[in-house]
Subunit: 84 residues, 2 copies
Amino acid sequence: MKYTAEINVMPLKALLDPQGKAVTSSMKNINLDTITNVRIGKHITLEVEALSKQEAEILVDTACQKLLHNPIMESYDFKVQEAK
Amino acid sequence: MKYTAEINVMPLKALLDPQGKAVTSSMKNINLDTITNVRIGKHITLEVEALSKQEAEILVDTACQKLLHNPIMESYDFKVQEAK
């Protein structure tokens, strides 16, 4: 069965996010100063071939741990669903 | 009222995503060759002060159009909800 996963990798809350800070200040320049606290991370989509949703989730979690996120700076969460 | 928005900015389907392609090949090296078609974009969270959800959505859409996405290479979608 084919599954699709949507993964969000975000900078840890405790850490400064310089890219987000820069965008937050730019919001003021385009008259959107009601927008604050911008944080920027990665959104990753992928397809995975697995026998069950559970197996797909284990594969995606392994990919996050080994390759997609840096545990020192980032946290991740993901959703797996059957591909249409 | 305070709202939070979650924005996903992804490379357009029609375009090559070199970062995603590189990660797809790396999956093979760590024995995850059932994972394919990796695409990598940005995940942006922000807070917005607005009178209604509708107003918040308009503000977030303006931010995406003016600052957060590059229409030549990327598409975006977002969800706005009341901040807890």
